[in-house]
Every structure is written in C-alpha cells, then in structure tokens.
C-alpha cells in the first residue's frame, strides 16, 4: 500500500525494513506523504486517525507500527 499510494518508483517491498523509520532518514518519506497515507488508510481500511496525542503519527514510524495499526483498527 505504501509503495502504491506514494508511487515510489525505486522501492520494492523488500526495501522496506519492518523496523526502520519510514520518514526522514529511513525511507525518506515526508510530510506530504504522511497526508497521503492518512487518506489511503481511510479509503482502503476505513481507519480514521484521531488527534489523540503522539499516538497518531507514531503509527507511521515504521512498517511494523503501521501494520499493527491496520490489524487493530481496520473496518474493512
């Protein structure tokens, strides 16, 4: 989903290490990507992010964190 949403051309699923940071130094994603991912989570899995605390974007910290979010909160 990450690669498709953000049209990352030179990244394959194998390049995304489950623990590594998606943003900044890791995969090099940025604040616009975070907005896109937020929209994609809602579209694809019906997940609504809430503003409560650090929690929200900390789900975007790594692939593992994002996967955990999708598993726990997916509606469809």
């Amino acid at each position: 989903m990450i690669i498709d949403t953000l049209e990352l051309e030179d990244i394959t699923p194998d390049d995304i290490e489950p623990q590594a940071a998606l943003f900044g130094d890791g995969l090099g994603l940025d604040s616009i990507d975070a907005l896109e991912l937020g929209l994609a989570l809602q579209k694809r899995y019906g997940i609504k992010l809430d503003a409560e605390a650090e929690e929200t974007r900390s789900h975007f910290a790594s692939l593992n964190a994002l996967t955990a979010l999708v598993e726990a909160r997916r509606v469809h």
């Binding site: 030179d10 900044g24 940025d30 616009i32 975070a34």
Partner: protein, 569 residues
C-alpha cells in the same frame, strides 16, 4: 480590543487576557511571561542579529518580541537544516536556544520601550534566489505594519478569534497571518503541529470550547488533501481559511470550501514582496491586487510597487509571468528556474549544483515533470563505471543522493524520480527537449514500458539503447511471486516497440526466429538493447553486466493498407 500596529507594541497593552485555552495556545497573558523570560536570558548577551528557529509558537513569539524590545534583529532561517544554520553563523551574533535553561525570570528588567521606530529593521528572512543560494531579505517594522494593516482591513481579527496555523511561522506568510496579525488584534493562536487534519479538528474544538471563532492559516498540500471522513460540519465553524505558498487547484479550492464550510482565501506573494494579490476561487479564479499594491504589466512580465517592499517607491520586477489586468489577472508560471513543491520554493539550479558535488555524478539536470504529485525528476549523467546495474545499487545511490540534499533543502523538494544516464539524451539541435524528458519518465505514466535511458545510434541500421526494468512494471505481477521477472513475450514486445521508435514503422509482425532467453530480467536491472535492421525485420539482443539475457530475430511484412483508405477507394 482594537488593532494595534507592531510599532506600538500591541503585546504590552494593559490587561492581558488569560484564556480558557489549553497550554499549546498562545494568549497574551502566557506570551508576556515568555517575553520577560527571554528578555532576562538576553540580558548581558551581545546586541545585533540573532538566529531564531523555534517550532513552538509561544516560545518563538516570546523570543521574537524579547529581541525586538531589546533592539535586536531576528534572523529567521527558512528551515533548521544543519547546512542552513551553519551558513548563517558568520553573519549573526547569536542563536536563540531551543529551550530556555532558566524557565522564568524574577529579576527586575528594564522597562520595555513605549514604541519602536518604524524604520528599524525587524527581521531577516531567507529565500532561494535564482542563483540557488539563499538570499537574505530584511524587513523593517514599517513594512510589516503596512502589510498587517491590509490584513486587518480585508480580514479583520478580534480577541474572539483563535488562529490555527498549519504552516511554519519561519516564512513571511505564516509569520504575518498566523502570528503577527493575531498578535496585533489580541487573538489567540496556535502552531504548525496542526499540520495534520486530525490535529486541526482537535484545535477547532478547543477554540469552540473557549468561545472563540477559529480561523485557519493553511497551504495547498493540506487543503488538497482535506479528508472527507472527518465530520467538519460538527466542529466549530471556521470563519475563514487562508492558503498561500502556491496556487490552489480550482477543484481543491471548491472542495475545501464545501467540506470546511468557510471561504478559502488565497494570497499570492513572495518573501521579497510580501503579499501581492488575493482571490477566492468560488467567486473568481482571477487574482486581484491587494490594497496599496500597484501593479503594471509589460507583456507577460509583472512589476509592482508597494509599501511592503524595502523600497516602496521603486518598481520591483516579480519573476512570474501573468496575463490580464491588475484588477483581474492570471498567473502563468515562473520565468526562472524556481519551482514550488508542497508550497516550498526550491531552485532547480541549486539542486543540480548540490548533486554535481557527489563524486560519482558528472552533471545533473533537474526537471519539473508537471505531475499531479508535484514531485521533481532528476537526470544524472554518470561515468559508465559508476552506473547502478541492479536494484540494490540503484536504491542505495538514490538514498545517498537524497541524504546529500536533505542537509540543504526541504524534504518535500527532494527529487523523487531518478534517471541515471551515460549521456544526456538530446535532439537534433543538441537539446534535451520536452519529448525526451517525457520518454525518460514514460514508465511512470505507463507501467507497461521499460525505463528508457538513452539511445546510441551506431549507424543508420543499428542502435544500442540503455534501459532499466521498472520496479513497478505491471507484468512483474503474478508471474512468480517470490522471483519477479519480465515474461518473454514482454521482452519481444519491448524489442519491437523500441525498434519502431528508432527505425520507424516496421510493418506487421510476421514471426520470430532463433529466440533465446539465456537469463531472466529482474526488476531494477540495467540493460543494453542492441537492435539491427535486417532485410525483413530486426535482430535484437538484451544484455547486462551479467551477460546475455535474450536475443532473436523478428520479421515483419509490409503493413496492410489501413481499412479507412480501402473504404475511401
């Protein structure tokens, strides 16, 4: 509470209001405490120019006003990258720390001045000039006050407003609209941590609970992505939404207005000029000059005079192309090599120069691809021995290049699409033209195509092409899950398509001979495709640094006459 200009120190007016807002909001009572704390910290330190780069609006404003009250100048870097800050050390007298080591100040401080002289320098701001080097622009209190007066005239705020910023106050737009205008009007404000819609919704609720009417200071990337799943109509109604940094697409402006239920006002301007014009696209897509701003059009060129400029009487040439009249005009784009990505301005020259410093890069060409995502593409000329041959090498090289740029430019402006070539492709005039650029990035638009990286014509009948297998090639799906390869039929199709682009129409496919597939083609692999014209067709060979991957001959027969022509007979 009425509007008070900066020179009259609006934050020092009597009876500061303590609001019922949570602590991440800046109100006048909280602010005064921070101003005094920073004044205490500054005591005994050098006068002059101080670097101020601080994301928290309360600490930012507290330190800013403390600098002003003590006759110092605030230097606002555009970002906090180490490269940016290092470049400023030599021309400044100090840097405001991220946190105050002594949080409160109890000693008696000298009285704040009763007023500030308008001609005094208030700020230095930075923007990338056409040379690619950041250029400093000083702003006096008179310039800031002139522009704030126009904001107040067009979009008045009162102490019954709460201003929510989704943009940084390190730039002129965020500083004026989301910090200084509320400050002069006695309105509370909060900051950039509302970048994401969920946080924004929370801040709107907080403003509502405190009895304030929220105003939002936003930008196109955020407004374009306003999510529908938040029930905006259930939140306190926004009084007004501002957008600046780049033009907002009309569809996005309309969508944001209908979702947020508030007028979306766009401001056009630049660091150098301050605000120039405004529009509301649900009313008209034409821009209208701001009050006090005088425009003249010469051809597609734009010049202006305004009290927001350092020299209000001088005509300033703005490097944007325009059409229309000063009362109703349209923007046609920049006439230099500056582009905006996600509202952040970046110089293509500067990116190219930074990339060319990489030891493996001979030269770089950065291009605005005009894609919906706004992201840049970059074509890098490299020595043959330095070119990446496999996906992991390519991935690592792109990572290194991104890392190199990240120290100097905003993250969102870093090119996303990389093309590594032995020589810059060129047309008959020796230029890399638009159609060549389109061909270089064609695989982004059509996921059936290989990534083309140049063609060497050997003689009239043969040529050699550089290609890569795109990682997102549609044909990789569903072949072998664990070992994605390019199917043989696609390899033959690529040979035919590329031959037709090199030699022209070949006729109807008649058959293949001597087809051999020696090695699989894997995603990210760099290839050479050698093509030779033969009597009835072509010979092709794909090879990589590993050796030969596929070769064969394809024959064609003269094209059948098109059916429409037959019908005409």
């Amino acid at each position: 509470m009425s509007f008070v200009s900066l020179c009259q120190l609006p934050w020092r007016r009597p009876a500061p209001i303590a609001s019922a807002l949570p602590a991440h909001w800046t109100d006048s009572a909280r602010l005064l405490e921070r101003v005094d704390a920073w004044r205490g910290w500054l005591e005994g330190r050098p006068a002059g120019r101080w670097i101020l780069c601080q994301p928290d609006p309360l600490e930012f404003t507290g330190a800013l006003l403390a600098l002003w009250e003590t006759g110092r100048i605030a230097v606002l870097p555009a970002d906090d990258r180490p490269g940016t800050l290092a470049g400023l050390i030599g021309s400044t007298d100090g840097q405001i720390p991220a946190q105050l080591d002594v949080p409160n100040h109890s000693r008696a401080l000298p009285h704040a001045p009763a007023a500030i002289t308008p001609t005094t320098a208030a700020l230095a701001l930075y923007t990338s000039g056409s040379t690619g080097q950041p250029v400093e622009f000083a702003k006096s209190f008179a310039q800031l006050d002139a522009e704030l007066a126009v904001h107040h005239q067009l979009w008045p705020l009162t102490e019954a407003n709460g201003v929510i910023a989704q943009v940084s106050h390190q730039h002129i737009y965020g500083l004026l609209a989301a910090v200084l205008h509320p400050l002069c009007s006695g309105a509370a404000f909060c900051g950039e941590d509302c970048h994401y819609p969920e946080r924004l919704a929370e801040r709107m609720t907080e403003a509502g609970l405190a009895g304030l009417s929220p105003v939002m200071v936003s930008s196109p990337p955020q407004l374009a992505r306003t999510p529908e799943h938040i029930d905006w109509s259930a939140l306190p109604r926004l009084q007004r939404v501002f957008s600046s940094g780049a033009p907002l697409a009309q569809a996005h402006a309309e969508r944001a207005e209908s979702l947020l239920g508030a007028p979306v006002i766009e401001i056009y301007g630049s660091t150098e000029t301050g605000g120039i014009a405004q529009r509301r696209q649900t009313v008209t897509d034409a821009w209208q000059a701001l009050p006090d701003v005088e425009l003249t059009f010469e051809g597609e060129g734009l010049a202006l005079r305004s009290p927001f400029l350092a020299e209000p009487e001088q005509w300033w040439q703005q490097p944007d192309r325009v059409s229309g009249t000063p009362e109703r005009f349209h923007l046609l784009g920049r006439d230099d090599r500056l582009v905006k990505i996600g509202g952040k301005r970046v110089s293509l020259d500067r990116i190219e120069r930074l990339l060319a410093e990489h030891p493996r890069v001979m030269s770089a060409r950065c291009v605005d691809l005009g894609r919906n995502d706004g992201r840049l593409g970059c074509i890098l000329v490299m020595d043959t021995s330095s070119l990446p041959h496999e996906h992991p090498q390519r991935h690592e090289l792109a990572r290194q290049l991104r890392e190199r740029l990240a120290a100097h430019i905003e993250q969102v402006t870093i090119p996303r699409y990389w093309r590594f070539v032995e020589a810059l492709p060129c047309n008959a005039q020796g230029k890399l033209d638009r159609s060549l650029i389109e061909r270089l990035f064609e695989d982004l638009v059509d996921d059936r195509k290989p990534r083309w990286l140049g063609t060497d014509l050997l003689d009239g009948r043969s040529c050699s092409l550089a290609l890569e297998v795109p990682e997102r090639l549609i044909f990789l799906d569903g072949h072998f899950d664990e070992f994605p390869i390019v199917p043989g039929v696609v390899i033959v199709q690529w040979a035919v398509q590329q031959a037709e682009r090199s030699f022209g129409q070949l006729g109807d496919f008649a058959g293949c001979e001597q087809l051999k597939f020696q090695r699989p083609l894997r995603p990210g692999m760099r290839l050479r495709l050698d093509l030779t014209q033969r009597e009835n067709g072509i010979a092709f060979a794909f090879h990589s640094h590993e050796g030969k991957h596929a070769n064969g001959r394809i024959s064609f027969r003269a094209a059948t006459v098109a059916t429409t022509e037959v019908a005409d007979d």
